[in-house]
């Protein structure tokens, strides 16, 4: 049944992706309302679909790439809706909604061929570990986008050129605030995720688990994250240097994701 809901979600994300372009670039209030309505509806069905998917056979943990993609899309949509609610701007939907659409297209086509299987999948700690880390990914995507948009808006204001197609950009202060808030959210997610993961590893495998390349890379990224937060908060770093820092941490996080290939235990795609 969750596949049916997911297909509905894909259609709704598709519609939301089109309407957000008209709503944001055309700055039409009617389309803005329509886009928000469709997005909320998509989020609702997506939550239903994810709940059904995770409740399937009572495993509560995403066990394959399709499930992970779908979960990540749901978290991206959640962060987007939180931004709309807090900052009253739909602009981030231009990136978030098409991304959510793309992430859900493949999972909606069918079931995973390969799934991660372990007796741990029914552990609540594993659920916390994965969900918290995925929240960190979603938050960091928004932080990076906000930093990039900040840069574009800053250049636009400095160059004193007013191309009409950039009128939709939110104010600098709003983007800075979004970048900072999502960064903190991501940090909380990452810390919680690593903590939960470490507990499971310590419990199940002992110290040898920490020799896994993915694990120590994760701690390196966490260290980078702390460093970036400290620098941004203490110096009020904005603009180009903030983009560099956010990009660095984002690339490091992608590396951790990619480290699945070299990991002996984090292999979602393994047969």
């Amino acid at each position: 049944m969750y596949l049916l809901w997911l297909r509905v979600v894909v259609v709704l994300y598709g519609l939301a992706s089109v309407s957000v372009l008209i709503a944001v670039f055309g700055q039409r209030p009617r389309w803005q309302r329509a886009c928000l309505g469709i997005s909320v509806l998509a989020w609702f069905f997506h939550a239903v679909s994810c709940t059904e998917m995770l409740a399937l056979e009572h495993h509560w943990t995403p066990t394959g790439m399709h499930e992970v993609q779908s979960m990540l899309a749901l978290l991206i949509c959640t962060v987007f809706l939180l931004i709309v609610w807090r900052y009253r701007t739909l602009s981030f939907g231009v990136f978030a909604l098409p991304l959510a659409f793309l992430l859900t297209v493949v999972p909606s086509l069918g079931l995973d061929r390969y799934t991660f299987s372990s007796p741990l999948i029914r552990s609540g700690w594993l659920f916390v570990h994965i969900t918290a880390l995925m929240t960190a990914y979603a938050a960091l995507i928004f932080s990076l986008v906000a930093s990039l948009l900040y840069l574009v808006q800053e250049r636009r204001l400095k160059n004193k050129r007013w191309p009409g197609f950039l009128n939709w950009l939110p104010p600098l202060d709003t983007m800075d605030s979004i970048a900072q808030t999502t960064l903190v959210l991501g940090f909380c997610g990452m810390t919680l995720g690593l903590f939960a993961g470490s507990l499971i590893a310590q419990e199940q495998y002992g110290a040898r688990y920490f020799a896994d390349p993915k694990i120590w890379l994760s701690f390196v990224v966490w260290g980078l994250y702390v460093g970036m937060l400290f620098v941004r908060r203490s110096t009020g770093l904005r603009g180009l240097r903030a983009v560099y820092l956010s990009s660095l941490v984002f690339i490091a996080m992608l590396t951790v994701w990619a480290a699945n290939v070299f990991s002996s235990v984090h292999r979602f795609g393994a047969p």
């Binding site: 209030p29 600098l172 202060d173």
Partner: protein, 446 residues
């Protein structure tokens, strides 16, 4: 009832004449009452702004001679006034009013004040009883059309004055101006205007630095701000988020090293510099620093000019919306014109009555003249009694402007009456009924 609109505006009359015709808001009610008392005027409204004076009236019968009324009211010679006046009647008057309310006829197309001014005139006219059903319907439709133009186009979205462009730019940087601090360096008229705009938009507090300390104190009192001594300017400038300069200094007051210090003290929080002085007070090089945004008078003017050009494009879109709204208004007015419906309804009922009399002609032939008159009177009385309620309902619906109810009553009764009449005629066409000798006076009509 006919609609007439007479007046002059910035396109037809110079300011010297317009200022003679301006009506102060406290006198508007009195003058509207005077207009209502003018010959032939049933409903009326006066719109008086700095760019236009217009009289809008609903009248019956002949022309109410509004130019003569204007001439008398403002004590301006009719020959002086006449060449500058325009006059629109009925559909053209409606179109003009719609364009005025939607700010398409304004000096600065899309400016938001005009709709408020039209609404104010309407409220005043209503308070003195000068707004009847005709004007009510017209003005409500004009307000709805103006609102639609505002919400469906971006005609008023961009700023076209220097001060409002400055406010817009500040919002692009800081989002909300709530709690932001403005520093005014030099106390010129332009900088004062920009500061006033920023304060009106919610800026938190105002600091003022001026070479003449007394002038700074005067201005601080006016805006409830604080004075900064001119020799402390560089030490305290970083307290401000927005800095407006307009001094007569021949040299730059702020250079890149100053701005770097400000940023350091502000932990890189952005600063917005507005330099409206000529010669300039701020070195343009500081715009290169990350977190510093500098706009001089030319920059502000070029943004305003580009926004004005954008409004031209939006105005074309607005005209299309206005045409649709005008069509809707006229359709509504036509629907509410119940006179043809009343005539049709009476005619259909009369036709039914005659058909019934024709059908019963054979039985009535033996009646005496007085009995025939009684039958005539009785059927006519019945018809009138039957028609009374639907006719009253039609008139009431028209009075309340309920076009849907008018249409419902019209279709129900006219269709019914038409069918009844047709049925009666079919009956009358049966061979048993022959119309040999007409009944009098009823038959005298055939």
């Amino acid at each position: 009832m006919r609609i007439l609109l007479t007046g002059l505006n910035h396109k037809t009359a110079p300011v010297e004449l317009r200022e003679r015709l301006a009506i102060a808001s406290e006198k508007l009610a009195l003058e509207t009452r005077g207009l209502l008392a003018h010959d032939g005027v049933r409903e009326g409204l006066i719109l008086s702004t700095c760019n236009r004076v217009e009289l809008l009236v609903c009248h019956e019968g002949g022309d109410p001679a509004l130019p003569a009324y204007l001439s008398r009211l403002f004590a301006v010679d009719a020959r002086t006034l006449q060449p500058h006046l325009y006059e629109y009647r009925d559909a053209e008057a409606v179109r003009h009013l719609f364009r005025v309310a939607a700010s398409l006829d304004s000096m600065v197309v899309g400016e938001p004040q005009i709709l408020g001014q039209v609404k104010e005139s309407y409220t005043t006219a209503r308070s003195v009883g000068a707004v009847g059903p005709e004007l009510e319907r017209l003005l409500q439709s004009a307000f709805a059309a103006a609102k639609k133009v505002r919400s469906e186009t971006r005609i008023g979205a961009s700023s076209v004055s220097i001060a409002s462009v400055a406010v817009d730019l500040a919002k692009k940087i800081f989002g909300s101006l709530e709690g932001k601090r403005v520093l005014l360096v030099g106390a010129g008229k332009m900088s004062e205007l920009a500061a006033r705009h920023l304060m009106q938009q919610g800026a938190g507090s105002l600091l003022i630095a001026n070479r003449t300390h007394e002038r700074a104190i005067d201005l601080a009192r006016k805006f409830n701000g604080h004075v900064v001594r001119f020799d402390e300017l560089h030490a305290r400038a970083d307290e401000a988020d927005i800095l407006i300069t307009s001094t007569g200094s021949p040299e730059f007051l702020f250079r890149a090293p100053h701005a770097q210090q400000f940023l350091q003290r502000r932990r890189n929080r952005p600063m917005f510099f507005i330099d409206i002085a000529v010669p300039r007070d701020i070195d343009p090089e500081i715009n290169r620093l990350e977190g510093i945004f500098l706009y001089d008078i030319d920059d502000l003017q070029s943004v305003a000019a580009s926004n004005l050009a954008d409004r031209g494009g939006e105005a074309r879109h607005a005209e299309v919306i206005l045409e649709q709204e005008l069509t809707r208004y006229h359709q509504r007015v036509e629907a509410l014109d119940v006179v043809p419906a009343l005539v049709d309804l009476q005619a259909a009922a009369e036709e039914m009555r005659l058909a019934e009399l024709r059908r019963n002609h054979a039985h009535l032939r033996g009646l005496t003249a007085s009995q025939q008159a009684a039958v005539e009177s009785m059927t006519r009385g019945l018809m009138n009694k039957f028609l009374h309620q639907p006719l009253q309902m039609l008139k009431a619906a028209a009075r309340e402007g309920d076009a849907a109810r008018v249409e419902a009553i019209r279709s129900a009764f006219l269709r019914e009456a038409g069918r009844e009449a047709a049925g009666a005629v079919e009956f009358a066409d049966e061979p048993a009924v022959e119309l040999e000798e007409p009944l009098k006076p009823f038959f005298s009509k055939h």
